[in-house]
């Protein structure tokens, strides 16, 4: 079913004539995103987390602090702040099905515009949910989640809100940085909600140590690739 839907979306994009990306059969999400081919990944050389599972966009409206907080705190689907979705799972929001897609990005950032557009979904006035799992070999105290996003975004680590940035903005590395937090040994769930107004949409995320150096000593899993 999932595969069929992806193929259908791809076919629709190509058939619409607006697709400018050379979409290969195994790169359904644009030039920088692809379905994961391994069970686990590592952050890149600068610590950026490149594996995420993303939900197809939800329509919202507003980028101010209060608007975004209201948008991200609204319950769209069950277990919204605890679920670790699987690739291809579907949730129903307002009577419409939205599919979770596991992706690897080849860049430091995750291009949500490519993601949505490749699926034939809206890119403006939308909310993207993203989840990943950071697997730590040992407890890591005093680290910070450092994120950037276009546009506003709110982030949670193991269920606790860690950082939020608001307003119409472009993605800047380490734009919003959390207070010092502790990553526990084993899996840690990182969750984000990115709200876009119009135009490009993307985000980036990494963890920094007490000296503001990127942390790479963990693995990342999302969407149970190759399950």
């Amino acid at each position: 079913m999932t595969t069929f839907l992806k193929f259908l979306n791809l076919a629709l994009v190509i058939a619409s004539g607006v697709g400018s990306f050379a979409l290969a059969a195994d790169t359904n999400f644009g030039p920088t995103l692809a379905s994961p081919k391994s069970v686990e990944a590592r952050p890149d050389a600068e610590g950026f987390i490149q594996r995420w599972i993303l939900l197809e966009p939800i329509g919202v409206n507003g980028l101010t602090d209060s608007a975004v907080q209201k948008e991200v705190k609204m319950e769209y689907f069950a277990n919204q702040f605890s679920i670790v979705p699987q690739d291809g799972e579907t949730v129903s929001i307002g009577g419409a099905n939205h599919i979770w897609h596991a992706v690897d990005t080849t860049e430091y950032n995750v291009n949500l515009y490519h993601f949505a557009r490749s699926l034939g979904k809206p890119t403006s006035n939308v909310l993207f949910w993203g989840v990943t799992v950071v697997n730590c070999p040992e407890e890591m105290p005093g680290v910070r989640l450092a994120i950037g996003s276009n546009a506003a975004s709110v982030w949670w680590v193991n269920g606790r809100e860690a950082v939020g940035i608001y307003g119409d903005r472009q993605t800047v590395i380490d734009d919003g940085v959390s207070k010092r937090i502790t990553l526990k040994k084993g899996p840690n769930i990182i969750r984000c909600a990115v709200v876009n107004g119009g135009g490009a949409a993307d985000f980036c995320a990494r963890f920094l140590d007490a000296d503001d150096k990127p942390i790479r000593a963990f693995t990342v899993s999302a969407g149970n690739a190759d399950k």
């Binding site: 602090d65 403006s124 006035n125 450092a146 919003g176 010092r180 119009g198 503001d212």
Partner: protein, 501 residues
Amino acid sequence: MAVLLLVPQAFALDGRVQIHDPSTVIQCDNKYYVYGTGLPCLTSDDGWNWRQGTSPGEGRGGGLAPDVIHIGDRYFFYYATGAAQPKAEVRLLSNKTLESDSPDYKWEDGGIVASSDGFEDCNAIDPGVFLDPTDDRLWLTYGSYFGYIRLVELDPKTGKRLHPGHAPYNIAINCEASDMIYHDGWYYLLADHGSCCQGANSGYNIRVGRARKVTGPFLDNMGIDMIQGGGKLFAGSGGRVVGLGHFGLINLGDGVQFFSCHYEADLDRGGASVLDIRPLLWKDGWPVAGENFKAGTYQIESARTGTALELAVEGVPVGGGGRGRRGGGGGFMGGGFGGPGRTNRPARGSGGGGMFAGRGGVIPPQDASQVSTNWPDGNIEVRLANYMDQAQQKWTISAVTNAGGYLGSPYFKITVAETDRTLAATDDGELITHPAFAGDAKQIWCIEQLTDGTWRVMPKSSTGADKSGNGLALSAIGSSSATLEKFNPESDRQRWVFNSP
């Protein structure tokens, strides 16, 4: 708990600060010491509030314009005697400690290290001692308006003269109160020009030249040798203080330097000669006299990111709102669910219409009374944001009495302008604002100017008793996030600019 009051005006230091011809300010056992003509001692626990200390001149009939340096386990103390100037002598005392209550406190006479015979072109007063950081050789400059400023080498082990048979170097002329420092490959000779000792009519000012060798030639910014009267102005009179002289370096390391001096007359203290301590800056290879922080209302801009420290509340656009958003809304490149966006671009060149025409009239500055009704009542976070004329970015910084201080300044509180909401450190090294100021050390701040002219901001609770400056400092850890982190002099993270709104 002591009642903390706002200081309406910041003076040059607090407490007993009357002194003339001060030595370099020096630390011993976590106290600061400075000595002047007549060999009085002033001492301070924090560099802000001063009191009378124990004079090393007792039984010695006083002395002139001393200088002091700490090398190894000894303090070398140089002072001049000269009842019949220009016949004069520079003499040495040494001690293991400057703390008069210590059992080790005992001045030892080291004899004469330099002199003038009353006929030669030199008046051997105003010693300035300098340890060359490049080779640990110790030097003494001395002299006054009578002839040359001279340089002789000293033994860093004993403080006494090396090679007494060698003729001194002549390095400047017709100045006094000389002192030497080293910075980034240059030796700098600082010395006073102008008239001394005439109260509010004194013309004292500090001039500087620089050389690649410790022996000179010391040229000013126009290439004029100080031995021909050259000297770039470093600092002089200004405001309510007249006649600035007797430079002394206080180097805290990590890009934090101060200098000590006296004003011949502080008009707010009845024209008395007083001590001051000010930031030392560097610009284009020359030392520049900085100013201690002045109370006022500011926007606090990160030198790292250019974003401004703000209360983490939703800003209200000045003048009532924006013009829409770049990047498109519904229907722009891919479509959307609808909503605001740049879907109706205004016509250009209409000469007064459209969304770029403004709203007419003067838009007044925004203050907290206009927008704070929507702010939460309890603690509120802080963050960095695009620099705006908005109330949550305006901070009133006020000196606090009975809270002590640091070199040159009292501690300050930092509140959102027109409110009592106070910036504070948290126990875990983060930032928060409290609804009101209560005088807690986490709500009191040290604001020091760095050598590049930017500022370092540290909570009193983390400045440390050793005055090392190794505590936590306000830090921009991202374009939109601020925290407290250990100060790193190599980074812009902890450098801040204070701008008037």
